[in-house]
């Protein structure tokens, strides 16, 4: 795989993880479709993502031990894998949020000074 193809995902990676964690933290356990829907709502459909893009992020977060997936039923009695944030995930969310804020603040400051 060339690095060029990777680029947009690389850029999004940290953000995507943060959004997923944040979503699960505030809305309780969700399946992938719900997360994707939430993502679209929040971004006002500006972020036009294929829903499948979520899966690599989910497996990554699960391997970090930040979220945990269990099979369950939807209200329409369809099966779905529900992801819930773990305690380690909550802690990580706090740290990541801090880091994101510092980063964003820094970039913002730079942009202001440059202009």
């Amino acid at each position: 795989m060339s690095s060029k193809e990777n680029e947009p995902i690389q850029l999004l990676q940290g953000t995507l993880d943060l959004i997923v964690l944040r979503t699960l933290d505030s809305m309780g356990s969700q399946h992938a479709y719900q997360i994707a829907t939430r993502l679209q709502q929040v971004s006002d459909r500006l972020l036009n993502l294929n829903q499948g893009t979520l899966y690599p992020a989910l497996v990554r977060l699960e391997q970090y031990g930040w979220i945990k997936g269990t099979w369950g039923k939807t209200e329409n009695n369809r099966e779905a894998k529900y992801y819930a944030i773990t305690r380690a995930g909550q802690k990580a969310l706090g740290e990541e949020t801090q880091r994101w804020r510092r980063m964003a603040g820094l970039v913002e400051k730079l942009l202001v000074e440059e202009s």
Partner: protein, 902 residues
């Protein structure tokens, strides 16, 4: 932490791939279903809903690949598949797998065990700070044949004062001290050393402090204890510092305890380590007379930065020349050369030949194990020729086949390496107790990380090397030819046959090398046992004693003790003779000195005439059973003021007075210029082995201890005491062990505080002196046996396989009328041919390597025809024996069944 967890999971996922894939499929299906439901709710037709769901979800396969990349290390995936494939294959042939793994475990285990010895003894840095700057400094006394460089007391003073190359430099001398303040008096091994030695070694004490040069110069009575001494004799008492202990009945202040792993001097073996250290504080008389010519101390130093050992040596040589200029008249012919060597080299020098031999032995064992594995793999690849041909025909790339073959051999070799490691751990545990004490730092030998890394590295290397040949043989398979052979197995490619034969020949050859080595060592051992030791071994008991100067300050006190002791001992029931000698045969402690013989004009540059002297009291000749050849033994009338007499051994007599009657001839101590009185030879005794039976016999002479001081002439220092120590020897008519208690009691009645050191029978002393050779012999023989076993296994497997391949050929032969006898003959002849070539090659290699073994042999030439012939014959018959089973199996083939098969 979380990264570690993820790395582990991503690695682990490689092995749980199918499960993860199924889970992913299920999740995607559920996701798509939910999307579809939603679109249906919005009023789409089922067809439209499905399409819209796919659209929203995006490319399923693309996403799956992204998921896989995220989930597991994909680069490793194919390797994991290969490994899984290999494991499946190996499970299908457990016999092959087990043989291969055990064979490698043998080879790698033995190699690893030996490597850990080498690592512990040769490679590990000395346990001192910055060991590469540590050197030993000593004199090479020109004309003597001492191999250890030692120094005299004046040397220590001069070198310490006048050299400029050393950051620190100090002298030391190993001594025995009587420790009597804790319970029963005991003899402890100690070292007196300059205050400079501690900073040279730069190891901080565990408790308290070490003594300084100042304390040494001021002759302070202070002592530093070893960890072992502190734990055992003082029960790890933390308040030991500042207390006083009695050493040789003088009070010493304990000022420090060294850490557990501190050991100095680094003496070979794990016994007689120094248990405490006291200041050298040389007495004034040690700079005069005989002491000035006693090379009985050593020096250790730390080089200044940027100074090489060679520079330090030339610096020291200047000091040595000044020392020689100041020699008193009686030693002006002595010449010394300074020697500076790295401490590490000095420590391992003695062990190197043994370690080298060991390395060669294990290399051979490993080579054989490798050859066996290669043989097995080759056989396997031939068996799978058809499968490989089919896969090639279906488009398998050779690179892939090669990779699979390599993975297979690596899996085997790594498994073998792990089993071998366990095997090595067991070997090391047993081995340490058997290793000869000539190996330095023996307790440091262990299975540690470098050793484990070595073993696994070796396993991987073995796997790569062993896998290559069969792997290439496999991919060279010609698709057409193989598939055309159809059902008929026929007789397979001669190219592979040659490779197999080469392996067998190589195995036989190297195994024979070890076998001859072992044979030669066994013969040497036998020869050593036959050596005439010159004294009686059975019914003899000995013990060593040292009289502390504090109590025995006058010659009369000493003589009083000795006389009473001998009288009491003679009265013990079961004692036939009792005597005291300053040196014990076979104990290896006979110091040599220069002598001058009347009428003997030394040739130019002939060096010094050196002889070992023993001082006798009582009847030591009778007690030891040393044979008198001519003249008389010493008697009570050989007193200090009567005529000075000596008894010489046969070798000395034959050297100086060949073909003459030595009785009445005269010799004296020292060099020609030394003013010493003549000693008249009154008797000649047989040669006695002073060290190990395989050591060369040295020239010896004996003196009555009463005449020592007079005979030393200018060497004697004022007020010198004689007979302060010695080996008491008893000849018993009952088993000597039974006398030990009454022996101790007899000493205790005279001096209750005096410890007897190393009470042992002469049989024991001999066994100790033979131990190193016994060890070498057992070790090499053990390796030879392993090599033989492995080689036989290898020969068997290769021959058995060739026979199996030729089954149809044999069947046809038999169908055409060949007798079973003929088939048997056919197989055995081919084995014999390989065996003969292997043996010839092996003898050649043995001849090339003979110089390595020469230093270990005793009384046997490395080309001893008997040993060479016997080993070759044994090897050949083993090769034949290994092929008998396959041969009889071939002879039992039922032609009808064999030809109908396939």
């Amino acid at each position: 932490m979380r990264y570690l967890r993820r790395i582990f999971l991503r690695f682990f996922s490689l092995f749980a791939n199918s499960k993860a894939e199924a889970e992913l499929d299920r999740e995607i299906a559920a996701h798509l279903q939910l999307l579809e439901d939603d679109f249906l709710d919005r009023g789409m037709t089922p067809e439209e809903a499905r399409r819209a769901a796919r659209c929203t979800y995006g490319g399923v396969e693309q996403m799956k690949q992204l998921h896989r990349n995220e989930r597991a290390y994909q680069g490793l995936a194919t390797t994991v598949m290969d490994v899984q494939y290999t494991l499946r294959q190996l499970r299908k042939s457990p016999g092959f797998t087990l043989t291969a793994i055990l064979m490698l475990a043998f080879g790698i285990g033995a190699t690893t065990a030996v490597f850990s010895i080498v690592e512990g003894v040769l490679l590990r840095p000395l346990p001192f700070a910055d060991p590469n700057r540590l050197v030993v400094l000593g004199d090479d006394l020109v004309g003597s044949h001492w191999d250890q460089s030692s120094v005299t007391a004046p040397d220590i003073r001069n070198y310490m004062r006048d050299t400029h190359s050393f950051l620190h430099l100090g002298g030391y001398q190993r001594i025995g001290l009587e420790l009597s303040s804790t319970g029963d008096p005991v003899h402890v091994d100690a070292t007196r050393m300059s205050g400079e030695v501690f900073p040279t070694l730069a190891i901080a004490p565990l408790m308290g402090h070490w003594f300084t040069q100042r304390e040494d110069d001021q002759h302070q009575l202070v002592a530093v204890l070893s960890y072992g001494m502190w734990r055992e004799r003082f029960h790890g008492d933390e308040k030991i510092l500042g207390t006083k202990i009695l050493l040789d009945r003088k009070p010493y202040l304990v000022i420090g305890v060294m850490p557990r792993d501190f050991e100095f001097p680094l003496v070979p073996g794990h016994v007689n380590n120094s248990e405490l250290w006291v200041p050298l504080s040389p007495r004034p008389e040690e700079f005069t007379a005989g002491y000035a010519a006693s090379w009985n101390s050593h020096m250790v130093g730390r080089l200044k930065p940027g100074i090489t050992p060679a520079q330090a040596q030339s610096d020291s040589q200047l000091v040595a020349e000044e020392t020689m200029r100041n020699y008193p008249g009686f030693m002006r012919s002595l010449r010394i050369r300074s020697e500076v060597k790295l401490l590490h080299e000095d420590t391992v020098a003695q062990a190197r030949p043994l370690v080298d031999t060991l390395l060669i032995a294990v290399t051979i064992v490993l080579l054989i194990a490798c050859a066996n594995l290669a043989g097995l793999l080759l056989v396997r690849s031939i068996r799978r020729r058809r499968e490989i041909a089919v896969r090639l025909a279906l488009g398998a790339r050779p690179a892939m086949l090669l990779r699979q073959a390599m993975v297979e051999s690596l899996v085997l070799s790594i498994a073998g390496g792990l089993v071998g490691l366990a095997f090595a751990a067991a070997c090391i545990r047993i081995g340490i107790s058997l290793l000869p004490e000539t190996l330095p730092r023996i307790h440091e030998i262990s299975l540690d990380w470098p050793v484990i890394a070595f073993a696994l590295g070796l396993a991987i290397l073995t796997g790569l090397v062993c896998g290559l040949a069969p792997a290439f043989a496999a991919i060279r398979t010609s698709v057409n030819e193989t598939l055309k052979e159809g059902g008929r197995t026929g007789t397979s490619g001669s190219g592979h046959g040659r490779l197999r034969s080469t392996l067998v020949v190589a195995e036989i050859a190297v195994a024979l090398v070890l076998l001859t080595a072992s044979g030669l060592l066994l013969r040497s051992f036998e020869k050593m046992r036959e050596v005439d030791l010159g004294f009686r071994v059975d019914h003899t008991l000995s013990a060593f004693y040292v009289l502390p100067q504090k109590r025995y300050a006058t010659q009369s006190a000493i003589d009083n003790f000795t006389d009473t002791l001998l009288r009491n001992l003679r009265q013990l029931p079961g004692v036939k003779a009792a005597g005291i000698s300053s040196s014990l045969p076979a104990a290896g402690d006979g110091g040599e000195l220069a002598i001058t013989v009347e009428g003997h004009v030394p040739q130019k540059d002939a060096g010094l005439n050196m002889a070992a002297v023993s001082l006798m009291q009582g009847d030591p000749f009778q007690a030891l059973g040393v044979r008198l050849l001519q003249g008389r033994l010493f008697t009570e009338s050989d007193k200090a003021d009567s005529q000075l007499v000596a008894i010489v051994n046969r070798k000395l007599a034959e050297h100086f007075w060949p073909g003459q009657d030595p009785i009445g001839k005269r010799l004296r101590r020292g060099m020609p210029e030394t003013p010493t009185p003549w000693l008249t030879v009154v008797g000649i005794v047989d040669d006695v082995k002073l060290g190990s039976p395989d050591d060369a016999t040295v020239e010896q002479f004996y003196q009555p201890v009463t005449q020592l001081t007079t005979s030393e002439g200018a060497f004697a220092s004022a007020g010198e005491l004689s007979a302060t120590y010695g080996y008491i020897v008893l000849h018993t008519d009952t088993p000597p062990e039974q006398l030990e208690n009454s022996f101790r009691a007899a000493v205790r009645t005279i001096d209750p505080q005096l410890p007897l050191i190393q009470m042992q029978t002469m049989e024991h002393v001999i066994a100790d002196s033979e131990a190193p050779r016994l060890f070498n012999t057992v070790l090499i023989s053990a390796f030879a046996m392993i090599a033989l076993l492995l080689a036989v296994l290898g020969i068997y497997s290769v021959i058995a396989f060739s026979v199996a391949l030729r089954e149809q050929e044999m069947a046809i032969r038999m169908a055409l009328g060949c007798q079973r006898q003929g088939v048997l003959h056919l197989v055995l002849t081919s084995a014999a041919k390989l065996g003969a070539i292997g043996c010839l090659l092996g003898l050649l290699i043995a001849a090339v390597l003979s110089h390595l073994l020469r230093s270990f042999l005793f009384g046997v030439s490395p080309f001893d025809p008997l040993v060479l012939m016997l080993s070759a014959a044994a090897m050949l018959s083993f090769a034949l024996a290994a092929s008998v089973l396959p041969a009889t199996r071939a002879a039992k083939i039922n032609p009808i069944i064999a030809l109908r098969g396939d």
